[in-house]
């Protein structure tokens, strides 16, 4: 029986590379429409979590469910079907160097043997979403770091996946560009009802993701609003990883009030 409550679910997932334990019985779940922000220092297995969810690597034990399906023992062919439901935004964008921005975004559709007449409107719509229509003919090496991430997001959105995995999309970016990336994530969360795992270690991202939301007004304009004191966003939750274990899981407020020394150090250092 498929459990259809969670977009992504990890049950007791463990993974080790040789003697190095990366994840030790990690369990968590992402509800439909929820953003799960995963934090933790470098090398705590944050990116590994995403690679597991995408089926790029397999866990040593435990099980992973995507959209209610247990993918733990799926073959590469079966995973191809699952991956159509998932968009992945890689750390540095991971754009194909030899292909133009247009071809990068069109990649998934080309693989599905879509006609060129169907591909073009989709590609242009995605590039418009990330505000990069002008860069359509550029090659990846002509783009700035922020633009590469945005093209990466546009590429991940092709096929309208309902699950998106962000692997440190804001790392190494200036605050303004990082905010643009976070706003894209908000738009997807609040307007497209996308479920996501957002890996980051920047407190500024957490601030934006936890306390802002986006609505469309009567004229179709997007308005970013702050949650204020009277309401609290419930569609964004946080987990903190340390040494392959989940040491915290809950809302941003609970995290800020946490007494755990590691979390305190994490929060206070960033300030």
């Amino acid at each position: 029986m498929a459990n259809k409550f969670h977009a992504i679910e990890f049950k007791d997932v463990s993974l080790a590379f040789d003697d190095n334990v990366v994840l030790d019985r990690v369990s968590f779940a992402v509800r439909y429409g929820e953003s799960k922000v995963v934090m933790g220092g470098s090398g705590t297995g944050k990116s590994t979590l995403l690679r597991l969810a995408l089926g790029l690597i397999r866990p040593d034990s435990g099980s992973i469910l995507i959209d209610g399906e247990d993918i733990t023992d799926y073959t590469e062919e079966q995973m191809m079907e699952i991956r159509q439901k998932i968009g992945m935004v890689f750390q540095e964008g991971a754009l194909f160097d030899s292909l133009s921005v247009y071809d990068n975004v069109a990649y998934r559709l080309r693989e599905q043997k879509a006609r060129e007449s169907e591909i073009e409107p989709v590609v242009m719509r995605m590039l418009r979403f990330v505000d990069l229509e002008d860069a359509v003919d550029k090659m990846p090496n002509e783009l700035s770091g922020g633009m590469r991430r945005r093209v990466g997001i546009a590429r991940a959105l092709v096929g309208s996946p309902k699950i998106i995995l962000y692997d440190e999309p804001t790392a190494g970016l200036d605050p303004i560009t990082a905010r643009t990336i976070c706003e894209l994530a908000l738009k997807l969360r609040d307007l497209e009802e996308v479920s996501s795992i957002f890996v980051t270690h920047r407190l500024q991202d957490i601030e934006v993701l936890a306390s802002e939301y986006v609505v469309r007004d009567d004229f179709g304009n997007l308005i970013f609003e702050h949650e204020g004191d009277r309401m609290c966003l419930i569609n964004t939750k946080f987990i903190m990883l340390k040494d392959g274990n989940v040491i915290f899981s809950g809302s941003d407020k609970e995290m800020r009030d946490s007494r755990n020394p590691y979390i305190r150090k994490f929060i206070d250092n960033e300030r």
Partner: protein, 254 residues
């Protein structure tokens, strides 16, 4: 001991890679366009160095053996000597060594940097199989283009030999050409084509394997590139010995 275990693991991984290529090669999607593109880049792109290698090898062969042949008064067979040496041995081996240097290293570097910049993962995430999309086209390209380039190398080498004999040995071109013709039998040519086919496969599979098993970022890419050339070159020379024995006993036995 550790070295032996690592060696066994490497052989296992290469075998697995070959198996995955073989399993997928007759199943769609085929990426025909990519295969042709690779043939152009890897094959046609190597034409210049193969032409130069072939020409000078043939010429120097004629030059070096000319004096010895003259001692025995059999200068007239220099055409045969050059053609046989080229078709049996030097054409395939030199062509493929050049390919290992130019193309094998390129494959390892390209796939290695794609791996460390997560492009291979991105490819899988977007629903493409990197084995089919990257490895198979390169293998097909090299398995077909290595014999083709070898034939060109053999031809241009014979021409180099001809020119060297005419200018430095003062031999009539007709003597050289008719003596060359005697060397070129069907079995010789067949034997001379089997070798580069196998070598082409070796270059491609080693380049792809080294590229796809890159670890350790940019430094790792450099290491993979170097290793791919070293391993492929040594394998070519070692396998050449075994193949020569096989071809001589099967095709060329009197």
């Amino acid at each position: 001991m550790n070295l032996i275990i690592r060696g066994i693991i490497t052989i296992q991984e290469i075998t697995l890679l070959i198996w995955r290529v073989a399993r997928g090669v007759f199943r769609p999607p085929f990426y025909l366009r990519e295969m042709i593109r690779q043939m152009d880049i890897l094959g046609f792109g190597s034409l210049t160095i193969i032409l130069l290698t072939g020409f000078f090898t043939g010429a120097v062969l004629a030059l070096n053996t000319g004096n010895t042949l003259q001692k025995f008064g059999v200068q007239s067979v220099s055409g045969q000597l050059v053609a046989t040496s080229l078709i049996r041995e030097l054409g395939p081996v030199l062509t493929c060594l050049m390919l290992a240097g130019r193309v094998g290293s390129g494959i390892a570097a390209e796939l290695g940097s794609m791996l460390v910049s997560e492009q291979i993962d991105a490819m899988r995430a977007l629903g493409a199989d990197p084995i089919k999309k990257l490895v198979t086209p390169r293998i097909v390209a090299l398995v077909t283009m290595a014999p083709a380039l070898t034939v060109i190398c053999d031809m241009i080498g014979s021409l180099g030999g001809l020119i060297a004999t005419i200018f430095f040995q003062g031999q009539a071109s007709s003597v050289y050409i008719s003596s060359s013709k005697e060397a070129v039998t069907y079995n010789e040519i067949l034997g001379g084509l089997i070798k580069p086919t196998v070598f082409g496969f070796i270059i491609a599979i080693i380049g792809c394997y080294k590229g796809l098993s890159t670890t350790g970022g940019t430094v790792g890419v450099g290491r993979s590139t170097t290793q791919s050339v070293v391993v492929a070159s040594i394998l070519i020379i070692a396998v050449d010995f075994l193949l020569s024995k096989l071809i001589i006993s099967l095709l060329l036995a009197p």
